[in-house]
C-alpha cells in the first residue's frame, strides 16, 4: 500500500513538472508573439501599403541586420542582398539569397521573422530603386562580431556605421 502511494506521488510530481515545463515554453512563445503584435500595430500604416512580399522580406532582413545603423547603412545592407540576387554566383531570388544555408546569422537565430519598421522598409525601397551605397559589394560584416577569416580577406569597399562592405 505504502509503495503504491509513493508511486502515485512520484508520478504526480513528474506530471506537474512536465506541465510546468510545457506551460513555461508556451508562455515564452506567447509573450514573444504579443510583442510582435504590438510592434506590428505600430507599423501597420507602413505595412498596409505593402503588397510586395519580396520587399517585405528584404525590409525584414534590413531591420534584423542593421537596426540602429544610419539610414545609408540600412540601404547598403539591402543593396548587398540585391547585388547578390543579380550576381551569377548567388541564388536568383531574395528568398534564395537570404535563406541560403549558413549565409545569414539573422536566419539562423530567427530575427528575420520580426516585422520591419518603416525606416527599414524605406531603405529596402530605396535599394530597389537602384541606390547602392556599397558600390557593388557582395559581403558585409561587423568586424567586432565576426571571427570568419575568409570574409575578412575580401577587398573592402566602404565602411558605413558598424558594417564593413566588401567585394
Amino acid at each position: 500500500m505504502i509503495i503504491n502511494r509513493k508511486l502515485m506521488f512520484f508520478i504526480g510530481m513528474i506530471i506537474i513538472f512536465v506541465i510546468l515545463l510545457v506551460s513555461y515554453n508556451l508562455q515564452k512563445e506567447k509573450s514573444i508573439k504579443l510583442k510582435d503584435d504590438l510592434q506590428a500595430k505600430e507599423d501597420q500604416k507602413a505595412r498596409i501599403q505593402l503588397d510586395d512580399n519580396e520587399l517585405d522580406l528584404l525590409a525584414r532582413a534590413v531591420h534584423a541586420e542593421a537596426k540602429g545603423e544610419p539610414y545609408e547603412g540600412q540601404v547598403a545592407v539591402a543593396a548587398v542582398i540585391l547585388n547578390r540576387v543579380a550576381h551569377p554566383e548567388f541564388p536568383n531570388t531574395i528568398a534564395g539569397v537570404l535563406y541560403e544555408p549558413l549565409a545569414f546569422q539573422i536566419v539562423a537565430n530567427g530575427t528575420i521573422n520580426q516585422p520591419a519598421d518603416q525606416l527599414a522598409i524605406q531603405a529596402a525601397t530605396e535599394a530597389i530603386n537602384g541606390v547602392d551605397p556599397t558600390n557593388g559589394a557582395l559581403y558585409f560584416f561587423n568586424p567586432a562580431k565576426t571571427s570568419n577569416q575568409w570574409i575578412r580577406s575580401r577587398p573592402v569597399v566602404k565602411t558605413i556605421g558598424k558594417h564593413v562592405f566588401a567585394l
Binding site: F10, I14, P88, F90, N92, P101, N135, G136, T146
Partner: protein, 438 residues
C-alpha cells in the same frame, strides 16, 4: 524527512533524464531533416547537371529550329534548377565561382541562342557551344563519380557544426568537418582551371562598362558639386565629405552636418567626373497632403533648375508617403530608356528626398535615332493593334543588354495595360512589359 529528500532527488533526476531524452530526440529529428535537405539538394544538382550535359550533347546534332527551341527551353529549366540546388547547399566560404559562372553563361547563351535561332539570324557559334558542352561534361562525370563513392556518407550536419554556426556567431565550417561531397565540389572547381576559355562575360561584367568616367576631383570639389546640386535643399546647412569608397566606381560621400536632424542628406559623388550618382534622405514622411500633379510639377522643376535636358515622366508610384518618379531623357522625340533617372518626392511638403542618376550619366552616348520602319509598318506587327492607346519612338535595352531603337506602343487589354516594343529596323518584337498601376 530524509525519505522525502531522497524522493525529491530521485524525481528531479528522473525529470532531468526525461527532459534530456526529449531534447536529444528532437535534435536528432531536426538534424535528420536538415541532412535530408542537403542530401536532396546535392543529388538533384547532379541530376540536373546530367540533364544539361545530355541536352547540350543533343543540340549539336539537332537540325530543326522547332526541336532546338524545345531543347533550349529544357536547358534553361535545368540550369535554373541546378542554380537553385547550389543555393540550398551549405556553401558559405566555399569558392565555386567557376561552376557557378559556367551555369550562368549557359543560361545567358541559351537566351541568346534561342532568340537568334528563332529569327534565323545567324547560326549558333559552334565553338562556344562545344566549349560549354565539354565543361559541363567534365563537371557531370566528376560529380557522378564522387556521388557513387561518397554519396552514402551521412554527416552533412553534426552537432559541432550546429554549435559553430548558431552559437559562436561564425559561419565558417572548418574544412575537416565538411561533408566529403563538399570537398568533391571544391575539387571539381579546381579541375575546371584546365579550361582556359572559361571566362564568358556575365551580366554584371557588361554593366561594368557603363560606369561614368572623367577627371579625378578633390574632396573640396565634391562638396562644391554637392552644394550646387542640392541648392535650397541644403540651404544653411554645412556639407562635408564623410566617407569614400573604393571599387569599380570610386566615390565621395558628402553629408549635411546637422546636430539635431537624425536624417542627414547623403549625396554620393563619383571621384572621376564628379557626377552626382545618388542622393538620399531617410526622413519619415508622415502624411500625404499634396496632390500628385503638384508633386510631379515640383520634381520637374527640380530637374529643370539643375539644367537637365527635356525629360519625360514614364512611371509614378507611391509608397510610404513618398512618390517615386521615373524620368527618361527625350532626344529628337525619342525616349532614351537606358538613361532612366529616378526621383523621390515627399508627399507632405514636396521636398525632393531621393535622386538616382547613375544610369543617366553612365550611358550617355551619341545615338543613331532614325527608324527604318514606318509607324504604320510597326503598328501592323502588334497583336492587338486596335487597342493601341499611344505610340512613341524609344531606345531600350534588349535582354542581351544592347540598345535598340524601337516603336513603343501602349496597348490596353482590359483591365491591364502593356508596353509593346517593335524594333524600328527589322520589325522584331523586342520586348513586352506590363504596366503596374499603383
Amino acid at each position: 524527512m530524509q525519505r522525502l529528500k531522497n524522493l525529491l532527488l530521485l524525481i528531479s533526476i528522473l525529470a532531468l533524464i526525461i527532459f534530456s531524452l526529449t531534447q536529444f530526440y528532437t535534435r536528432q529529428a531536426y538534424q535528420q531533416q536538415l541532412e535530408a535537405n542537403y542530401q536532396r539538394a546535392f543529388r538533384e544538382l547532379t541530376v540536373h547537371i546530367n540533364g544539361i550535359e545530355e541536352e547540350l550533347a543533343k543540340i549539336q546534332v539537332v537540325n530543326s529550329v522547332e526541336l532546338q527551341a524545345e531543347i533550349w527551353a529544357n536547358i534553361l529549366r535545368l540550369v535554373y534548377s541546378a542554380q537553385a540546388n547550389l543555393g540550398q547547399l551549405p556553401l558559405n566560404g566555399l569558392n565555386l565561382s567557376r561552376i557557378e559562372h559556367l551555369l550562368a553563361s549557359i543560361q545567358d547563351k541559351t537566351v541568346d541562342f534561342t532568340r537568334r535561332n528563332i529569327r534565323n539570324e545567324t547560326q549558333v557559334e559552334e565553338t562556344t557551344l562545344t566549349e560549354l558542352y565539354l565543361q559541363v561534361k567534365y563537371v557531370n562525370s566528376e560529380l557522378q563519380k564522387q556521388l557513387a563513392e561518397k554519396g552514402q556518407t551521412a554527416n552533412w550536419v553534426n552537432w559541432k557544426n550546429f554549435l559553430q554556426t548558431s552559437m559562436l556567431r561564425s559561419s565558417n565550417i572548418e574544412p575537416g568537418r565538411r561533408h566529403p561531397l563538399m570537398h568533391s565540389l571544391v575539387m571539381v572547381e579546381d579541375g575546371m582551371q584546365r579550361f582556359s576559355n572559361s571566362d564568358f562575360p556575365s551580366e554584371t561584367d557588361r554593366l561594368q562598362g557603363t560606369l561614368p568616367r572623367g577627371e579625378l576631383i578633390s574632396p573640396q570639389e565634391a562638396v562644391a558639386i554637392a552644394e550646387q546640386f542640392l541648392q535650397e535643399l541644403a540651404a544653411g546647412k554645412k556639407l562635408q565629405v564623410v566617407n569614400e569608397s573604393a571599387g569599380s566606381l570610386p566615390t565621395f560621400t558628402v553629408q549635411t552636418v546637422t546636430e539635431k536632424d537624425p536624417y542627414p542628406i547623403t549625396i554620393e559623388i563619383a571621384k572621376y567626373g564628379g557626377h552626382v550618382l545618388w542622393m538620399t534622405n531617410g526622413r519619415i514622411v508622415s502624411q500625404s497632403e499634396l496632390d500628385r500633379d503638384t508633386l510631379i510639377g515640383l520634381a520637374q522643376d527640380f530637374l529643370a533648375r539643375r539644367n537637365f535636358p527635356e525629360m519625360r515622366l514614364v512611371n509614378a508610384s507611391s509608397r510610404l508617403n513618398r512618390l517615386f518618379l521615373d524620368f527618361v531623357p527625350v532626344e529628337d522625340q525619342v525616349l532614351i530608356y537606358p538613361q532612366q533617372l529616378k526621383l523621390q518626392v515627399a508627399e507632405d511638403n514636396g521636398q525632393i528626398l531621393g535622386f538616382q542618376g547613375q544610369a543617366y550619366y553612365g550611358l550617355q552616348a551619341s545615338r543613331e535615332l532614325s527608324p527604318q520602319l514606318t509607324l504604320a509598318e510597326a503598328r501592323a506587327k502588334v497583336k492587338q493593334s486596335e487597342n493601341i492607346q499611344a505610340e512613341h519612338l524609344a531606345v531600350i535595352l534588349n535582354p542581351s543588354f544592347e540598345e535598340v531603337l524601337t516603336y513603343e506602343f501602349r496597348v490596353n487589354q482590359e483591365p491591364e495595360e502593356f508596353l509593346v516594343y517593335i524594333n524600328a529596323k527589322n520589325g522584331h518584337e523586342e520586348k513586352v512589359s506590363r504596366l503596374h498601376s499603383r
